[in-house]
């Protein structure tokens, strides 16, 4: 799992399970919190499609944290107001970077989280799909 995929899996993982796994990591890993955890606002930019002009659309609440394990950095940003989620995300990110023995378990958890998120979207789409009308199929 590449680092970007890991980041995205952390961002969509079940918060409670994420915190449980981070707590377990912290029993055997020395972590220094180097940024946050903070709740703040991220200004979301959107590109207007005709001129491809970026503009500031609206803010979202986000929670962010960065930790260090020796020379390794762990980072997470998640949507919403949850310091625990952000910090837990940064911890598991750092654990994998530092080659912590729990890494395979963490990666399996994150892979599963991503699959669940994709499935949730497919489920939503399944309910919408019957409202699709393809006029071009008409003869």
């Amino acid at each position: 799992m590449e680092r970007e995929a890991r980041f995205e899996a952390i961002a969509c993982a079940d918060p409670e399970r994420l915190v449980v796994i981070a707590d377990e990591v912290l029993e055997t890993l020395d972590v220094e919190v180097t940024r946050g955890p903070t709740v703040g606002l991220l200004m979301v930019r959107v590109e207007e499609p005709l001129e491809r002009l970026p503009f500031n659309f609206a803010e979202v609440t986000v929670s962010e944290a960065e930790v260090a394990v020796g020379a390794h950095r762990g980072y997470a940003m998640v949507m919403g107001k949850s310091l625990e989620r952000a910090l837990a995300g940064a911890v598991v990110d750092a654990a994998i970077e530092a080659g912590h023995p729990m890494s395979p378990r963490i990666e399996a958890f994150l892979a599963e989280a991503q699959v669940a998120a994709d499935q949730a979207w497919a489920d939503r789409w399944s309910v919408i799909a019957p409202t699709r009308v393809r006029f071009e199929d008409v003869t």
Binding site: E4, E8, V46, P49, L53, N56, A122, W125, V127
Partner: protein
């Protein structure tokens, strides 16, 4: 002024505040914030949009606290956002990246990917559903087949059809390299940049925008054409990963987007694509606002102005933000005793002078 009277005033104010609080928290069957978020999505979306902050729990909390007053709720969000630090700016997302839950075109019947009606009241009669008084029963949806999520390119933009036919300018190769204006950081100045206008309209109050768009359509300087495409869905929020520098997705924001094509009046003077576009993107499910925004965006872009208010960016941008308007209009409620007393004294003096002048005449 005696101390006791001031205390009396404070007691009255505190009591007034408790009465408001208890309107929300007292009596049977207290409203849960989750009920607002789940079943009053449209006001929650509107409030987040006008507050300029996407956070469903906060939006629903504001609705509850404000007893459902949409402008007061948006005000609460605006006030709350000033207490939070700004973490930064996202990478720019495009409507192309929407996870589509609704997508229609009223200009073209056959669009690649087809029309997706989604959740809509557009084709139903507006009848009161009295069964809802007893809670109401969900309607059976029939057998829902598990569908694969659509491919990324399954719903290409309809304006690309126009581009392919050279009726509209081709898309620039890369995004415009202009730092967008941020109305949350700097006061608006005029002429405003288009990025400031788009941000201002995205935060505007739905009713005010609708009224302006309608006036525009009725001939007060507005410009409207056809809805090339109206899209609803989830927009990815992306940042640059601080370690790797590559784009990563932190989550999704529910939005409605409208592509309004206007123009199409070819002339001998220009041998180039002459449709242009008004754009609207707003938070949540709010088609009324997205369509209105696209009409007003098109009007503000007009090069030849008619002098009507709808084409006047200062008029539009100053008066479409309900938080500004409400602050100014409702400040009239606060005591103006001294001002009015001065007006009264002036009036009476003048009238005495008038009387004196008449008597002497």
């Amino acid at each position: 002024m005696g101390y006791s009277s001031v205390r009396g005033g404070l007691d009255a104010i505190e009591h007034a505040e408790r009465l408001i609080h208890n309107q929300v928290t007292d009596g049977g069957d207290i409203l849960e914030v989750s009920q607002v978020a789940d079943h009053l999505q449209l006001i929650t979306d509107q409030v987040m949009g006008e507050g300029g902050v996407y956070d469903v729990e906060l939006g629903a909390l504001a609705v509850k606290q404000a007893e459902g007053d949409p402008i007061e709720a948006a005000f609460l969000l605006r006030a709350y956002r000033t207490t939070l630090p700004r973490v930064g700016y996202s990478l720019a997302s495009s409507g192309r990246e929407l996870r589509i839950t609704r997508r229609i075109s009223s200009a073209f019947r056959d669009i690649p990917g087809g029309q997706v009606l989604g959740r809509t009241r557009d084709y139903t009669q507006r009848l009161m559903d009295f069964s809802l008084l007893d809670g109401g029963e969900p309607m059976p949806l029939g057998l829902i087949a598990q569908a694969d999520a659509p491919d990324d390119d399954e719903f290409p933009l309809v304006i690309d059809v126009l581009r392919a036919q050279e009726l509209m300018p081709a898309a620039p190769d890369r995004p415009a390299d202009i730092e967008p204006f941020d109305v949350t950081r700097e006061p608006l100045r005029f002429p405003a940049t288009r990025s400031a206008r788009l941000q201002g309209l995205a935060r505007a109050e739905t009713g005010a925008l609708l009224s302006l768009a309608y006036a525009g359509m009725r001939g007060y300087g507005g410009d409207h054409g056809y809805i090339a495409e109206l899209r609803q869905g989830d927009l990815p929020v992306k940042i640059s990963h601080p370690v790797t520098g590559r784009a990563v997705n932190i989550g999704w924001v529910s939005v409605t987007e409208c592509y309004q094509i206007v123009g199409g009046q070819a002339s001998k003077a220009k041998d180039r694509p002459d449709y242009t576009m008004g754009y609207g993107m707003v938070i949540g499910r709010n088609e009324r606002k997205a369509i209105s925004m696209s009409i007003i965006d098109a009007s503000l872009k007009k090069e030849v102005k008619s002098g009507n208010v709808i084409e006047d960016e200062e008029y539009v941008l100053y008066h479409c933000d309900a938080i500004e308007s409400m602050g100014f209009v409702e400040h009239l409620k606060l005591p103006h005793y001294v001002d009015f007393q001065a007006s009264l004294v002036r009036t009476s003096k003048v009238r005495e002078l008038v009387k004196a002048a008449r008597t002497n005449a």
